[in-house]
Amino acid sequence: MLSTYLSAIDGVSAYPIFSLIIFIPFFLTVTFWVIKLDKKFLNYMGEMPLQDSNGSDEEGK
């Protein structure tokens, strides 16, 4: 099969494994950060699109 040509690359299986090794800690770190973020800050950020206009641009309901 065609795939045998490509699997002849030395240590090719390292690439997908490498990808997983990077991704999992990264994902866990982000999740950890996000859980730690304080509520006040999250509320502030979430409200941002609603707070961003002033001056002549009065918001509707």
Partner: protein
């Protein structure tokens, strides 16, 4: 605290909005036109500039880069200024960006019907336009980051992160995939060949969907949906996870476009795994969007803006669920090369990009013109007719895809193909193609109603090009002792962009390094030789006419395919294919083993009018190939470009190339004349026949 007064630039927002609406109509019109050609080829008026192969890329480019592209810029320029509490960095750069982009679109609209194309899907534009795109993108990036740097808001809202990921990734994708060797001012050959070219192309194609059609629209969703619903996004936490996991994972999933092709198993499996994983962040985003409407669902009933957005976000959820499912090998074996894929992308384009854009336009235009929408009733009508259009479109294409695929694979009890004539399977789905065109027309009608509604809205309002605003200046960092790292990161646009780029690049590199190793690992097949000069010219005609829009050159290792087309395709057969021409949709049969199947005469008559040889065929007639002279002046430059790319033509071959070309042309013409057709050796048809007769024969020779 000092309060600063400044003005938002609304003019640039309006201009991009107008451009988006205009190109929406143009792109959809061309869409309906090509859809009609698939059941009635005469719709092309027998004009070479209007054949399916040439204007299908016009449709895709108009929708992706003109309609959606301009809508992205409209939304980004509006939301970025407000989220940063600052005017755009430079009005001049805004203008250059706007006019530069429109000029690029214009050049695409001229060059594609002329047949000037690289043939790589969604990257068809030739090299001078590629360079222009790069320059304009840099202008946009400078303007964008300049605005962020001079902002008056300490933190960057999640929408801006999605914009940043878009800007850096599109730059990387565009540059890597567009590397090509110019032959002349409007012709180039891809740097990569065969399998490698396919890998790079679909790494690009997949991620263009991710970072041009998805991430910027997620940014727009995170800004405009809360605006329209007047409540904050459901979970800001979720949006952070959504962002990082999406950009990290998306870029790894490219190989799923090449399942069962000449790609190694491990890369296919990796693509599949990541494609499945993509469901998590995608659905996280969809749920976040829909739940933003918690407690406001009553508004959805009255507010067309929200209706559009709800269906848009839902379509995003459906398409991102379907995508990973399609990447499963067994599903893909059925769906690939069929209308199922066409349906899949249109759920995304019509539902997600289209409806989100319409929602934003209905919200934004009244804001820019300080008035109310002219008619909510008309907007609701647009919503319903558009939804109906999507339903007609998607359902007919699903059925068409599955029906045709099953017919391709059907064997009778004798173990012989039930439908050995490809045309039978085409004729079977013609009624479904008609329904598809009806769906498209309904959708277009809705868009036209929107144009009327928006024009009326504009007429009753008054435009404020520079909107006054004020905000306290951003003071140097004061009291942040307990900041988490992410908050630090997200305050610094440059670092943020850097990290986002790294996240994207890691995924890219994991996929790209093996890709670059691939070339030296494909065993050369001794009998595979470079194309003769005439075949090379013929191949360029094949590219010019966009034959690859309907014909694949990749026979998968299934019995149903080897029975129908012949020996399955080998990676080593493509080593001189700059660019690769595997195609992605079999509207017509695969051509990889076309060489020697029919006599020259058959091809000649078939090109003149396909229906004389295959009654009922929906292929356009290519009568101009019989009368147009082949441009042999380019032969030398083409051979030289191929030599630069490492194709082993002997030294000095470029000088005698035209002589060899002439000999081969004479022999084909002589054969045709023996069969009583008035063929002249210097016509384009001769080169095309030479190429078609060469296809896939390298391996047949060894078999003898």
């Amino acid at each position: 605290m000092e309060v600063q007064k400044f003005q938002y630039d609304n003019r640039i927002v309006r201009d991009f909005g107008i451009a988006s609406v205009i190109f929406a109509i143009v792109g959809m019109l061309v869409g309906v036109l090509i859809a009609s050609q698939l059941f009635s080829p005469a719709v092309n008026a027998n004009l070479q500039y209007m054949t399916y192969g040439r204007i299908r890329p016009l449709h895709t480019n108009a929708i992706i880069f003109a309609f959606v592209g301009n809508a992205i810029f409209m939304g980004v320029y509006y939301s970025l200024q407000r989220l940063c509490k600052a005017r755009m960095f430079s009005d001049l750069l805004s203008r250059i960006h706007f006019w530069g982009w429109q000029l690029i679109i214009l050049s695409a609209a001229v060059s594609l019907p002329l047949g000037l194309t690289t043939s790589k899907e969604y990257a068809e534009l030739e090299w001078p336009i590629d360079i222009a795109i790069t320059l304009i993108w840099v202008v946009f990036a400078i303007n964008f980051f300049g605005t962020i740097i001079k902002r008056r808001e300490r933190h960057m809202y999640v929408a801006i992160w999605f914009y940043i990921a878009t800007i850096v990734t599109v730059a990387v994708l565009h540059i890597v995939n567009s590397l090509e060797v110019p032959v002349s001012f409007l012709k180039s050959y891809s740097m990569y060949a065969g399998v490698q070219d396919a890998l790079v192309q679909w790494w690009y194609g997949h991620n263009a969907v991710a970072f041009f059609l998805t991430t910027p629209y997620l940014g727009l969703m995170y800004y405009f949906l809360p605006k329209a619903a007047n409540r904050p996004v459901y979970s800001y936490r979720l949006s952070i996870v959504h962002f990082w996991s999406l950009i990290f994972i998306y870029i790894w999933a490219g190989p799923h476009h090449l399942l069962y092709t000449a790609l190694p198993d491990w890369a296919q499996s990796l693509g599949t795994v990541f494609s499945i994983m993509l469901i998590a962040p995608s659905w996280g985003g969809m749920i976040n969007g829909l739940l933003t409407l918690r407690g406001a669902w009553d508004k959805v009933r009255e507010e067309p803006v929200l209706k559009f957005m709800v269906v848009g976000v839902t379509a995003y959820g459906m398409a991102t669920f379907e995508g990973p499912m399609l990447s499963l090998k067994n599903v893909n074996a059925l769906a690939h090369y069929t209308d199922w894929i066409v349906s899949h992308v249109h759920v995304g384009a019509l539902g997600w990009n289209g409806f989100m854009t319409f929602g934003i336009l209905y919200w934004l235009v009244p804001k820019l013109y300080k008035t109310d929408l002219f008619s909510k009733k008309l907007a609701s009508f647009h919503f319903w007719i558009g939804t109906l259009g999507i339903v007609f479109y998607a359902s007919s294409m699903y059925v068409a895809g599955i029906v045709q695929s099953l017919m391709w694979k059907e064997f009778n009890p004798m173990g012989i193909l039930q439908y050995p004539n490809f045309l039978e399977t085409t004729l079977q789905i013609i009624p479904l193609h008609m329904i598809r065109a009806v769906g498209g027309t309904l959708y277009l009608t809705g868009a036209l109603v929107m144009v009327y509604n928006l024009v009326k809205t504009v007429k009753q309002g008054s435009f404020v090009p520079n909107e006054a605003a004020e905000a306290p200046a951003l003071t140097p960092d004061e009291h942040n002792v307990s900041e988490t790292k992410h908050r630090w990161l997200e305050k610094k646009p440059v670092q943020f962009a850097l990290f986002a780029t790294i996240a994207v690049l890691i995924g890219g590199i994991v996929e790209m390094v093996p890709t670059f190793l691939v070339k030296s690992n494909i065993p050369t097949i001794a009998s595979v030789k470079p194309y003769t000069p005439l075949e090379l010219q013929g191949r360029d005609l094949y590219i010019r006419e966009g034959c690859n829009a309907c014909h694949s050159q990749m026979i998968r290792p299934f019995r149903s395919e080897t029975e129908r087309y012949g020996e399955y395709s080998k990676a080593g057969e493509y080593v001189y294919d700059h660019p690769f021409l595997w195609g992605s949709r079999r509207t017509g049969p695969d051509l990889h083993r076309e060489g020697g199947k029919y006599p020259n005469l058959w091809h000649y008559l078939h090109m003149e009018n396909p229906r004389t040889m295959s009654p009922g065929s929906i292929m356009p007639a290519y009568s101009w190939l019989l009368t147009q002279d082949l441009d042999t002046a380019s032969t030398m430059a083409k051979i030289q470009a191929m030599q630069t790319l490492g194709v082993p033509y002997p030294k000095g071959f470029e000088l005698i190339a035209n002589e060899i070309l002439q000999q081969q042309a004479d022999s084909i013409a002589a054969d045709l004349q023996r069969n009583k057709v008035p063929a002249e050796p210097n016509k384009e048809i001769i080169a095309l026949i030479a190429y078609l007769q060469r296809l896939g024969t390298d391996i047949k020779i060894t078999g003898k």
